[in-house]
Chain length 333, copies 2
DNA sequence: CTCCTCGTCTAGAACGTTCTAGTCAGGCCA
DNA sequence: TGGCCTGACTAGAACGTTCTAGACGAGGAG
């Protein structure tokens, strides 16, 4: 007898009838808008509670021209996107906006994800590390403000908020050189977003120190890192390695240690992302951290500025990274 | 001059005017509903494309009594939830439903997440490993069908879909015993969802084989596993270990290897979840896999059954797990 | 020639809100 | 007494769809 019959959900009219007022007044009370006496406010609220009234956001948004809705497209695979979501929720709430989420999964591309958000009448979109070609994004940006997070995009209409990845690698190299390292190799991220910049930062930093640069192919995953490390073991081992990201660095660490090389004794290793895995006591990887709070705050702020028509000076906002030193780096032996 | 001015979004009426038909007819064409000739269909569709019309899901859902919307609450931290989301998207699409996502973050609890979905007029909710007390969930289920995924809940009104975690540990133990192990220790998950069941499965399996059981405290994270492994190293080492989950197992592996113990040479290790990390060539952990596709299909199916009023025999659906054997287990030396 | 049916199309009312433009009572001032 | 506030409230139109009921021809059956 648990017939959870979908007996029509209570509406404003139901509350109004019960409280003996008009629907308009109930609306006023629910929105905490001015225009109702304290006594009626109390009475209406009680009536609403009694019949379990919940506002219908569909109807609400349909009526009011502004939806105060920010669409976010994220990848279900990326742990870092989870961190960004956390920051975005905070930033959006601060600005009086709600988030509408749409996930990219192995079976659901970016286009369906974006389309569903467009149907939802989002005012602006925030895309986390999108894979779509720049032309697609540029086109999308003619419809509504688009902010791309954590991926550089060359486009006249799309806003970009990202970390200064070249600067991040420069920090890593400077740290290693300051420790006394002279032979630093970079394990590359290939065509992944940010890889080119990180490689460049590595090269420039070494050049500035008058030291030779060497780049070996890597990738995004632990397996890519493991392969790169095996390649390194074939020749004379460098005294330090900078790696495209933490996952890849993990693979490097694993292979080096299994080959009997100690870290940081024989080789120092620096990762990138300061992911949860890097912080584990068993890994404790020196890494370059992205400032999630600033990235997300800026992304939301930029979307709102665009909505308000506030003039914007630069299309691209670049956030400085931070080096987190842990026990995977030490002076060379 | 890139004034992306928010000039009113085109509506049905705009398309209708341009195509020279009524809004009702445009609606018919957009929904691919019967009642329009092929010629007009074509004409309307062209008009819609030309002005870049997109249906407004708010208005659409407001009008039609069914929202065909399934609310999903997930945790931003849990990698496994990403896998579940992937499956849910597929299952929902199959059933002609859309997903409305709401995330739980460190700064945003389950209640706000659920509330936002209720405002969105979801027809049913799917909660991934919720932390809320059973009473809260039971209460929620009086409003609309609620399906809890991947956590056992004792409730008369909430549907549960989960993996037979006891069976999973039984598989792990049977595998180890078949390899010849006689001394198998379990690293526990404490109060985490599923931990009690896994512990029980471990105990029952060993008992069935007439072997002694030993449980040491663990937890959810790599650090918990590392701590447990250090404790194991203090006494005589068992020949095999079953661990609450993969992350924890990773910590166990790391500490054992650093202590110079070979895996699977001296100790075999089995994890739980078959997460991406377990599949990495550098880890290659034998693990118990949850059947994501079946879990998600059943969850969606159960929600729909409840909505249709289809009578349902059992409140709780339990999906059998599968053991994935990799190179972290071998016969004892 | 009339009556029906069928396919195509349209008018207009919903859906549950918010917003605009009021009404109405009471108090204050002259 | 009368006029004018002001605060509390309400009627009714919007928002962009879908749905119901019915209009209008064209064609076929009697």
């Amino acid at each position: 007898m648990t017939r959870t019959g979908p007996e029509r959900r209570p509406t404003l009219a139901d509350v109004a009838a019960r409280a003996g007022v008009s629907t308009a007044l109930v609306s006023i009370v629910m929105r905490e808008a001015p225009g109702a006496s304290a006594a009626t406010r109390e009475r209406v609220r009680r009536a609403a509670d009694e019949i379990g009234y919940r506002p219908d956001s569909r109807a609400r948004l349909l009526r009011s021209s502004r939806s105060r809705l920010l669409g976010v497209v994220f990848g279900v695979q990326h742990a870092f996107h989870g961190d960004l979501l956390t920051g975005l929720y905070d930033a959006a709430e601060q600005a009086g906006y709600e988030l509408a989420l749409s996930a990219v999964t192995p079976g659901r591309g970016e286009q369906p994800a974006v389309d569903s958000l467009l149907r939802d009448r989002c005012e602006a979109l925030v895309l986390l590390g999108p894979q779509s070609p720049a032309a697609t994004l540029t086109d999308l940006a003619t419809r509504l403000p688009v902010v791309v997070l954590a991926r550089p995009v060359r486009s006249a209409t799309v806003d970009v908020v990202r970390t200064a990845d070249d600067e991040g690698m420069r920090l890593a190299v400077d740290h290693l050189v300051a420790l006394g390292h002279r032979d630093v190799v970079h394990v590359d991220g290939g065509r992944a977003p940010g890889a080119a910049e990180r490689r460049r930062g590595y090269r420039e930093a070494l050049q500035r120190h008058g030291l030779p640069a060497r780049v070996v192919a890597g990738g995004l995953t632990e397996d890519d890192g493991a392969a790169a490390a095996r390649r390194l073991l074939e020749g004379p081992l460098p005294s330090a390695v900078t790696v495209f990201n933490d996952r890849c660095a993990l693979g490097v660490l694993d292979v080096l240690r299994r080959a009997g090389r100690t870290v940081p004794g024989e080789v120092s290793v620096v990762g990138y992302d300061d992911s949860r895995i890097a912080r584990l006591s068993s890994v404790d990887l020196t890494s370059v951290a992205q400032d999630v709070e600033q990235l997300t705050t800026l992304a939301v702020g930029r979307a709102l500025a665009r909505l308000d028509g506030t003039p914007v000076d630069r299309r691209e906002l670049v956030v400085p990274p931070r080096l987190v030193v842990r026990s995977s780096t030490a002076p060379p032996s």
